[in-house]
Amino acid sequence: MIVVALVLLAACMLPFVVSNYRTFQFTLALVYAIALLGLNMLTGYNGQISLGHGAFYAIGAYTAAILMDQYGVPYWATIPAAAVVCLIAGFLFGLPALRLEGLYLALATFALAVSLPALLKYHHLEQWTGGVQGIVLLKPDAPFGLPLNPDQWLYFFTLAITVLMFVLAWNILRGRMGHAMVAIRDQHIAAEAMGIHTAMVKSMTFGISAMYTGIAGALGAIAIQFVAPDSFNIFVSIMLLVGVVIGGLASISGAIYGALFIQFVPNIADAISKAAPWAIFGIFLLGFVYVMPMGIAGAVRMAVARLTRKAQNQAAKP
């Protein structure tokens, strides 16, 4: 509890000590954290692999962008809209797709992510999506005359939603739904025998997971101020999966570590080598996977456990 409070305090101080550009980067990291949390529910807790969450990220982003651009909806109102759209889209996609197990589901979601950019360019949708040109958005100013610049305001706005989404996830995961998810992952036959409606829980998980990713997409679009089909290629989906695994499967805090990883490590890799940035990124990835096989969250948990054990032993000795 104290740790969480300290982290929150540090997060609130952050935009006042770093530059606007860094604040913007941390805003993006928060956005990724929400998306990773959603994917982690699906992959980490429910054991379903999705290679297509970039598609829900894009749907969320486009929902926000189209509402702002075409219908003049204020930016904050687009977040719940994106959430609803993605919840429904995810649930509907989940219904048939969940008859597919493991790798087959991964392929089905992959197909979704691959086809979406082409769909966004489709000329009958162009009047809304802007085609390849995409949509340019305006940056929101701080409301109520708060003494914050747009970057700082957007950071706090994103932070507030992130906290809300994390609390919500924490509640879902330790409740009935969360236990059902984990039971299905570990022993789906036993879970069914216990009376869990497997298909329903799986579809619901898919829907909630898509909703989280969609909210992240909407926030991302507002922060970047631009959406275009090229922003949402298959790589987004793969990076999200990388973030989940690196951060730590089936861990809420893992989403934050994973988000920091996918936001900052590619930049570090680019700074090390222009010629082969992705080779450097690959080395980082291999390093993390070997050193921390349970993800960063797993490594932190083990370190804490070892320290407290040591402390207890010491206390028990005399």
């Binding site: 530059s19 606007n20 550009y21 860094r22 913007f24 980067q25 993006l28 082409a118 360019k121 489709y122 000329h123 085609g131 390849v132 040109q133 995409g134 340019v136 991302g220 970047i224 101020q225 631009f226 275009a228 089909p229 090229d230 922003s231 290629n233 790589f235 680019d270 222009k274 010629a275 940035p277 992705w278």
Partner: protein
């Protein structure tokens, strides 16, 4: 300890100082390029330009100042471009951003650069929208834009075959429509010469059915506005179906290696396209001073670079243009003056441009290169013919 604080304070003060004050000692030029991702083949442009500044610095810089080239990878992904552009402007405090590559990445930062009033110069895309000094006074393109090129083909058709019946195939996006608009503007009141126009989507597997429609329309002239993969298909189909029209191919797909070879060189004979930079593989430039100068530059400063890759001579040529603007700016390295000088290029000629092509800009004309020369494929290589067309 105290010293440390003092130096940190000094650093902070330096970081907060106005960018132009910093720029007095070195000239910081920012750039984004796709060193990774789907368009990474273009990344070599950024490397060539980096090598160019290295050469400039070794020769004493520009008006005694060294150039600092800061180029980041954006992987052709617009969100990454936004992040990197902000890093360049806000953190690295560059004087300007030069040659950021790709239409979607540049669209993503278009508003930002103009809101920040940072020069966004000679962007590496052929879209026409970069020439809009009224709404976007801080952004400027460089290469002949798609509309300019479309007009050049129209000009040639009107002159050589005023009775032509034209069929057009175009990619259904802003790039394809840009070309088509220029082409129609060029035809003017003769626009009815176009007997059929059909489009395709990037996601389409082939353009075969479109080609059949065009052939059936009775057109005898074909304007082919397609990207490399589709261009190769269209060239093959136009030949195999026995249509064999007078075939104009947009410059985007004029690569022998990636388009004409896959289509079949014998099927590409007679194709007409345009060029504005000297092709280093062309035999006639074997003893050309500027091309040899470029080759020597590549050997010394960018030995890994491929001499057959047109992107490398392109990078060298566009860097000379930037060099000229900075030379003209003299000691007034304010952002306003940089834009003023960029809009004040008069008959400037990097010698690696085709003979007769000159760069002209003004406060109302943000399109540096507006002329090209037609080329015809003879089965082995492109051969230039006719006069320089355009403005």
């Amino acid at each position: 300890m105290k010293m440390k604080y003092v130096s940190i304070a000094a650093l902070l003060a330096a970081a907060l100082a106005s960018p132009t004050a910093l720029a007095q000692k070195t000239i910081k030029i920012g750039n984004t390029n796709p060193y990774s991702g789907p368009a990474s083949a273009y990344g070599t442009i950024g490397k060539t330009i980096g090598a160019y500044w290295k050469m400039v610095n070794e020769k004493g810089g520009i008006n005694g100042r060294m150039v600092e080239w800061i180029s980041y990878d954006d992987g052709y992904s617009p969100p990454k471009t936004v992040e990197m552009a902000r890093r360049l402007v806000e953190q690295d405090q560059v004087l300007l951003i030069f040659q950021s590559l790709g239409t979607p990445p540049n669209s993503a930062i278009h508003k930002y650069m103009n809101a920040k009033k940072v020069p966004h110069l000679f962007v590496a895309t052929g879209a026409t929208k970069w020439n809009d000094p009224k709404s976007y006074p801080w952004t400027m393109g460089w290469q002949p834009n798609y509309q300019t090129e479309g007009r050049i083909y129209a000009e040639h058709i009107l002159k050589n075959n005023p009775k032509a019946k034209i069929g057009v195939l175009y990619q259904n996006d802003d790039y394809g429509k840009d070309y088509l608009k220029g082409f129609k503007d060029g035809l003017g009141d003769k626009v009815s010469m176009i007997v059929k126009e059909v489009s395709y989507e990037v996601a389409d597997p082939t353009v075969d059915s479109q080609m059949v429609q065009l052939q059936a329309s009775g057109a005898d002239t074909f304007f082919n506005i397609t990207t490399p993969k589709f261009a190769a298909q269209a060239i093959r189909k136009a030949y195999d179906s026995g249509w064999k029209p007078t075939h104009y191919l947009n410059n985007v797909s004029a690569s022998i290696g990636s388009v004409l070879k896959p289509a079949g060189l014998e099927k590409a004979v007679g194709l007409i396209s345009t060029q504005y930079i000297k092709d280093p593989l062309d035999e006639q430039w074997k003893n050309d001073a500027s091309v040899n100068e470029w080759k020597a530059f590549m050997g010394k400063y960018y030995p890994d670079g491929n001499l057959a890759d047109a992107s490398n001579i392109y990078g060298y040529t566009v860097a000379q243009t930037m060099h000229q603007v900075l030379k003209q700016a003299g000691n007034d390295l304010s952002r306003a003056n940089i834009m003023k000088q960029a809009a004040n290029l008069k008959n400037f000629r990097p010698e690696t441009l085709l003979p007769g092509i000159r760069i002209n800009t003004s406060a109302t004309d943000f399109a540096p290169i507006e002329s090209e020369q037609l080329i015809r494929f003879d089965g082995k290589e492109w051969k230039r013919f006719g006069a320089i067309l355009g403005k």
